[in-house]
């Protein structure tokens, strides 16, 4: 997919979940802890919440130039403390979510875990609603599945019970759609996939799940 298309998916769209997640970081640069501003919209008269860091040029643009907003209506309400639960930079590579939105590229494997809550809906949107991988699995984990020392790696590959159930449900939905639209070749492939996953789920490594 071209960068432009990726940016369409990840750059322009702001979801409610994302806004929540971003609330602890400056909405201008995404890097620094924020000052919470409430600004009155001169047209509607409504108060709108903004989250900017102290020196963000974007905030200055918004607050300092009364063309869009009434500077008299700006009230500093509180300074929000940054907590570890906020979506700050990725601990693996220092990537911020704002930077991701700018480039549509993540920085490392940990970004997927770190930004999962925010990233999940964006990925689903770009991937026709898909939320879980049901394709190929690393052979190394599968072929050594019966060796006790590899239980952990098989678990990492297959996921926990809830994730497995979601994958099965997604595959069954696909099977139903394929059958109702009489796409039998595709239905057969999906059925094979379900059987393959089921047989893997029955392996001893399922452990405590």
């Amino acid at each position: 997919m071209t960068s432009a298309v990726c940016l369409q998916w990840f750059g322009g769209c702001v979801f409610a979940a994302e806004q929540d997640a971003m609330a602890n970081y400056c909405e201008g640069c995404g890097e620094d802890p924020v000052t919470h501003e409430t600004i009155k919209d001169p047209v509607t008269g409504e108060f709108v919440n903004h989250h900017f860091c102290a020196n963000c040029p974007k905030a200055k643009g918004l607050i300092g130039h009364p063309s869009g907003m009434d500077p008299e209506a700006v009230h500093q309400v509180s300074v929000v403390r940054v907590t570890a639960s906020g979506v700050g930079p990725c601990p693996g590579c220092g990537m911020t979510f704002a930077k991701f939105r700018e480039t549509a590229r993540l920085g490392c494997a940990s970004c997927y875990t770190h930004f999962e809550k925010t990233l999940g809906p964006l990925i689903a949107r770009a991937q026709e609603g898909a939320t879980h991988h049901v394709g190929k699995l690393p052979r190394r984990a599968i072929s050594c599945a019966n060796e006790p020392e590899n239980k952990r790696s098989l678990m990492e590959v297959l996921g926990r019970a809830e994730e497995r159930a979601r994958k099965m449900a997604a595959l069954r939905d696909q099977l139903h759609t394929a059958l109702t639209s009489e796409r039998y070749e595709q239905a057969a492939l999906i059925r094979d996939q379900i059987e393959q996953l089921q047989s893997l789920y029955e392996l001893p490594s399922e452990g405590g799940d």
Binding site: Q127, H133, G159
Partner: protein, 376 residues
């Protein structure tokens, strides 16, 4: 970027590669009249390293060295460059024209030929490509957008064969290198639009009759209805030079590789092949004189022009290819036309001449090469 050079830094392996035509241009395979080639690529990253765009030059160099060492040990890369097999080509030390030639052969992307930006004291961007010789059926880019981009390509409509081939290579690599993988998102990629399977399945189709009859929009609509991408000869962001269109999947998550392939190969591709064949039939039965005129003017231009630009050459070669497929002309054969599609490109042209050509010289050199090739 390296300054303009007057001679090429081309090693033995690269010289051998440039001396032959890749198998995907052989004109063979199923439905070869309409389908030029089938390709499957997998995007993979190594566990424990930052993705290429985020990694410092030293970290990218570490990936470069680790991949080279482990794949050589596993026999995936031949450690003797003179012996053939799969060669490791260091893209960062190549001259610009040799890199561009690899990109024209579609062994590497344009982005990989260009490389990531580095500062003067960091040296060139550490990146490589492994090319399976002599057929170029498999190539692996190292340190492009993802640590590894594996690609298999076949002539004609042979997607399943390409998927099987690349699956085997993927398994071999995975036995010596650990991939970044998550149970939820699958194979992790720098861009989330590739996450999951990391697969892109694509078919390069030659659709001159649909273009001549003004029906190419039907294909565009069908592709868009099925959320498939339609691109030009050179992939992302390129126009359809010479009526060649690449049709490929857009989504990579939530479906198996087989299903993604079947959705493309089992539904839209046969439909487009049928549209194009019907359009060709219509050209022959209802507009024969017009069609013959287009085709003979094209061969006339290619065999008589004294100066010709690459895009005009592609366009005329496309029309000649149509003429050969329709049986309007007895020669040249499809394989020759396919080979010339590559030879008219800038870097290949300059490699064939053996030196860097000034912009003003290229058109004349191209016209001369075409006259010679088509008079044989």
């Amino acid at each position: 970027m390296l300054p303009e050079e007057s001679s090429f830094r081309t090693g033995e392996a690269m010289k051998r590669i440039l001396g032959q035509t890749p198998a995907w241009l052989s004109g063979g395979g199923e439905h070869a009249d309409v389908v030029l080639s089938s390709r499957v690529r997998l995007a993979r990253n190594l566990a424990g390293f930052r993705f290429v765009g985020r990694a410092e030059v030293q970290e990218r160099r570490d990936v470069f060295n680790l991949v080279r060492k482990n794949l050589t040990k596993a026999g995936i890369v031949s450690d003797d460059p003179g012996s053939g097999g799969s060669c490791w080509l260091d893209v960062s030390t190549m001259d610009q024209y040799t890199r561009d030639a690899l990109s024209e052969r579609q062994c590497i992307s344009r982005q990989h030929a260009k490389g990531h930006k580095t500062s003067a004291n960091e040296g060139p961007d550490p990146r490589a490509v492994i090319v399976q010789t002599p057929d170029e059926a498999v190539s692996i880019m190292i340190n492009e957008e993802d640590h590894l981009r594996l690609r298999a390509v076949r002539p004609g409509l042979m997607l399943r064969e390409a998927l099987n081939e690349i699956g085997k290579v993927d398994d071999q690599i995975e036995s010596v290198l650990e991939y970044a993988f998550s149970s939820r998102f699958g194979y992790l990629t720098a861009c989330p639009t590739n996450v999951g399977t990391g697969i892109r399945v694509s078919v390069m189709m030659h659709l001159p009759a649909l273009r001549i009859l003004g029906e190419i929009d039907r294909v565009k609509r069908a592709a868009s209805d099925m959320s498939l991408a339609l691109r030009g000869f050179w992939g992302e962001g390129s126009e359809a030079d010479g009526d060649f269109y690449q049709l490929s999947n857009q989504t990579t998550l939530g479906k198996s590789e087989e299903l993604i392939l079947t959705e493309l190969a089992g539904t839209i591709v046969p439909k487009v092949i049928e549209y194009e064949r019907r359009a060709r039939e219509k050209l022959l039965t209802q507009r024969r004189e017009f069609t013959e005129d287009v085709i003979y003017r094209a061969i006339g231009t290619l065999t008589h022009a004294r100066r010709i630009a690459a895009d005009e050459a592609m366009c005329k070669l496309s029309e000649v290819r149509l003429g050969v497929s329709l049986g309007v002309m007895s020669g040249p054969d499809i394989a020759t036309v396919n080979r010339l599609l590559l030879m008219v490109q800038q870097a290949h042209l300059q490699h064939a001449v053996g030196r860097v050509l000034e912009p003003g010289e290229r058109k004349a050199a191209r016209a001369s090469m075409l006259r010679q090739a088509l008079s044989e």
